[in-house]
């Protein structure tokens, strides 16, 4: 209680512009996380040394750093291979056209195994697409549910039924449905991508939907009354009153959804062996080499860092679109 009180006063002084106190706060906000981080590294280092697995010692910060560098090296080596591949392909195509003039040469993408950084990109791309699909569905449905009590009552049982289902339980169904329905000779997206993206969508739906519905239905009565008095058209009512008022709740939902989507995607990739960071982790686990654990640890930290960055991005987006710039967001 006293702590929070002092925190409030320090913010107050900060606003008043006391330079000494300001420096102290800046130091605190910068130093304290650093202290936490260093403490974590020290504990990690100490504990890692005392854990012996059948794949050797549990990796400490030093080994993880070495593996990070190795992964970067592997990435650049693979890029060089890719260049050589394209060069060879060009020559082959030219040779074939010379031999068979009807042939239309085509440049095929590099066939080498994806590196760690390729996998990061795949995962990010997948989660964003899955999240977008879910948001496009969940926000409008949520608004309808928030505006109309009867729509909410009709949809509520479905939400309650599907919300607690682990998206991984959907995975086999999604896989089979995608492979049955998504048939084309030259698909724009690979099946594995569609499967992963839909699994992510399925779990991103619920938090956004519920939060949007709650946000919309809890708009202040005054605002609704203003709209009535001004006799706003339904569309104007929506854009001028409903959306701005419920933006904070919608974004709370979206942030929750994105966080869950990111966690689920990694698990789904591990389970379904779809390309991405999850597959990287699984493959390394299967390799069982003496470096595997350190490489997995690199992936774990990367996953965490990306999850953190995604959340911050959503937060700054929320700040941008929110009409109340003074509300405390965290």
């Amino acid at each position: 209680m006293s702590k929070s009180a002092s925190f409030v006063t320090s913010i107050g002084q900060f606003k008043q512009g006391n330079p000494g106190k300001m420096l102290l706060t800046t130091l605190q906000t910068l130093l304290l996380p650093l202290v936490g981080l260093l403490l974590f590294l020290a504990v990690w280092n100490g504990v890692a040394k005392s854990i012996d697995t059948s794949l050797g010692q549990f990796p400490g910060p030093a080994q993880v750093w070495t593996q990070t560098l190795t992964l970067i090296d592997e990435h650049s080596a693979q890029r060089e291979k890719a260049e050589a591949f394209y060069e060879r392909q060009e020559q082959r195509n030219a040779a074939r056209v010379a031999q068979d003039p009807t042939y239309e040469p085509k440049v095929r993408p590099f066939t080498g195994a994806p590196t760690f950084f390729d996998q990061i990109w795949t995962s990010l791309y997948t989660v964003m697409i899955g999240f977008l699909i879910a948001s496009v569905i969940a926000v409008p449905v949520g608004i309808v549910c928030g505006l109309s009590k009867s729509a909410y009552t009709a949809i509520n049982p479905l939400i309650q039924l599907f919300k607690p289902v682990s998206p991984l339980a959907w995975l086999p169904l999604v896989t089979m449905v995608v492979s049955a329905l998504y048939v084309s000779d030259d698909p724009m997206f690979s099946k594995s991508f569609v499967t992963s993206a839909f699994t992510v969508s399925l779990c991103c739906l619920w938090p956004t939907l519920i939060n949007t519905a709650v946000g919309v239905s809890n708009i202040e009565k005054d605002l609704v009354n203003v709209s009535r008095v001004l006799r706003l058209k339904p569309l104007t009512h929506l854009t001028k009153i409903v959306l701005p008022a419920s933006i904070p709740m919608i974004f709370t939902g979206l942030r929750l959804s994105l966080g869950i989507g990111w966690m689920v995607l990694i698990a789904a990739e591990m389970l379904a062996q779809n390309p991405g960071l999850g597959k990287f982790v699984w493959d390394e686990f299967q390799n069982g080499s003496s470096e595997s654990l350190a490489r997995i640890m690199v992936a774990v930290l990367t996953i965490g860092a990306i999850g953190f960055v995604l959340d911050r991005l959503m937060l700054s987006l929320q700040r941008k679109v929110s009409w109340d710039k003074n509300s405390v967001l965290r």
Partner: protein, 467 residues
């Protein structure tokens, strides 16, 4: 005019040929011979994705990729590791994968409908031997007491007879004796069962017609499925007491000091066929030229692996150790790939033919190999009722396609990349190996008489027996 047209045609062809020649000479980095293939058999599909499981016997795929043999055939192949054999098979069936490194029993099992039903064919056998049976340290200590020794080392091959008292002790104490294998229709399942049964330990029956696919009816040793890379961890956790798996997962147990390999499959059945390259029959019909070219590339890879008495194996080990292929430590991989096999720690013995990729016609898809797997499926109840000899032979011919192999081999011979004597004589080859005697229990196998072969076993279904 009429006389001119063919002449003009001829000069045109000559010009094309000449320009092709000039092109292929001027282009560096592309072997000229790779362009010698006939214009008419260009691959129908050039971008392919093949699946594999992290085992050393996926080597032909990795080598064909890394050495550019696929590209020489105009194929742009992506190789992708799969989580387990079930996932791999399902993805070949639903078309996500164009083909895959498969257990020899998988195309057969799928075609006869044990498990997922789908018509899978194979035109290329990937290797001979390469598996081992490992038991945990605790079981090994107990087995060792029963074993005859020479110079302080146990006499090989180690028979399951020495395991029998251990299993009996477990049963008397009311404990289950459990072992792992990789898939119900895997080579490992049949090899483990063969070895156990040869030592008088009943490995249990399947009864798919009653819905029982656990394979543990009447079992003295309970066998269950574990994906290969998880075998050592599962045994370490005590969930299983031993397992039968491909490399490097037996050597891994030695390195980690958690178990002891007791026998290799070479000693259970000398030069047994092991993995195959499987594709769906639908795919093969749609892309016949592509299929032949894939087989060509893989034959070249297999030749490379066995060349000059395994001279390329150390390089192969380096490639396989990459984390995108097998990914295990080089030392572990080298242990089995370079002609030795470490049993008990320090007990390293020469097994030059532990991994065979090309010699002894290892890549040719023999009907008799397919029929051996079918007899074992019948023996353990996966085929629940009696089938006539003709059924076995027809099934083998539906799944194993030496005709495609022969087309690929002949193309390689024509291009000068292989010699005719490297292959069976395609004019006279029947697809049936002469009767083979080199089994651990010395029972002779003749592929032309599968039912008579089944009669020779003490443990196992035969004749009209239905569970």
């Amino acid at each position: 005019m009429n006389a001119l047209t063919p002449l003009r045609g001829l000069t045109h062809t000559a010009k094309t040929l000449a320009s092709a020649l000039v092109m292929s000479v001027t282009l560096t980095g592309v072997s000229a011979s790779s362009l010698a293939a006939d214009n008419n058999d260009w691959p129908e599909k050039e971008e392919l994705k093949f699946g594999f499981i992290k085992l050393t016997d996926m080597a032909p795929l990795a080598i064909a990729y890394e050495k550019g043999f696929f590209e020489d055939e105009g194929l742009y192949v992506t190789l992708e590791a799969q989580a387990n054999w079930k996932v791999l098979l399902d993805r070949v069936i639903d078309g996500e994968l164009d083909g895959a490194h498969m257990l020899a029993g998988q195309p057969l099992g799928a075609t006869i409908g044990f498990g997922t039903k789908a018509h899978i064919i194979t035109a290329f056998s990937m290797d001979l031997n390469g598996n081992g049976i490992t038991v945990s340290n605790e079981i090994w200590e107990q087995m060792k007491k029963n074993m005859p020794k020479e110079d302080g080392k146990p006499v090989h091959p180690v028979k399951a007879d020495y395991l029998k008292p251990v299993v009996e002790k477990y049963r008397e104490e009311g404990k289950a004796f459990k072992m792992g294998m990789v898939f119900p229709v895997s080579t490992h399942n049949y090899e483990l069962r063969y070895w156990l049964a040869a030592g008088g330990i009943h490995p249990g029956y399947y009864a798919p017609h009653k819905g029982d696919t656990s394979g543990q009816i009447d079992a003295e040793a309970l066998l269950s499925v574990t994906p290969p890379p998880q075998m050592p961890a599962t045994m370490e956790a005590g969930t299983i007491h031993g397992y039968c798996v491909g490399e490097p997962w037996n050597q891994q147990a030695v390195f980690k000091g958690i178990g002891v390999p007791v026998i290799t499959d070479y000693e259970i059945w000398k030069n047994n066929p092991e993995k195959v390259f499987g594709v769906s029959s639908e795919w093969a019909e749609k892309y016949p030229n592509t299929h032949i070219r894939v087989v060509k590339a893989m034959i070249r890879a297999a030749m490379w692996l066995d060349e000059n008495n395994n001279a390329n194996r150390p390089e192969a080990v380096k490639i396989l150790a990459k984390s995108t292929y097998v990914g295990a430590d080089e030392a572990v991989l080298a242990n089995s790939m370079t002609g030795t096999f470490e049993y008990e720690k320090g007990d390293k013995r020469e097994v030059p033919d532990f991994n065979v990729f090309f010699r002894y016609n290892a890549t040719y898809p023999y009907y008799s190999d397919a029929i051996w797997y079918l007899t074992q499926m019948r023996r353990w109840g996966q085929i629940p009722e009696a089938k006539p000899d003709s059924w076995y032979i027809n099934m083998a011919k539906e799944v194993y396609r030496p005709d495609i192999y022969a087309a690929a081999a002949k193309a390689l011979i024509a291009e000068g990349k292989a010699k005719a004597e490297d292959f069976p004589d395609f004019d006279t080859e029947t697809g049936f190996k002469p009767p083979q005697k080199e089994f651990i229990d010395e029972v002779t196998y003749d592929g032309t008489h599968p039912n008579a072969y089944l009669e020779k076993f003490g443990i196992g279904l035969k004749g009209d027996t239905v569970l």
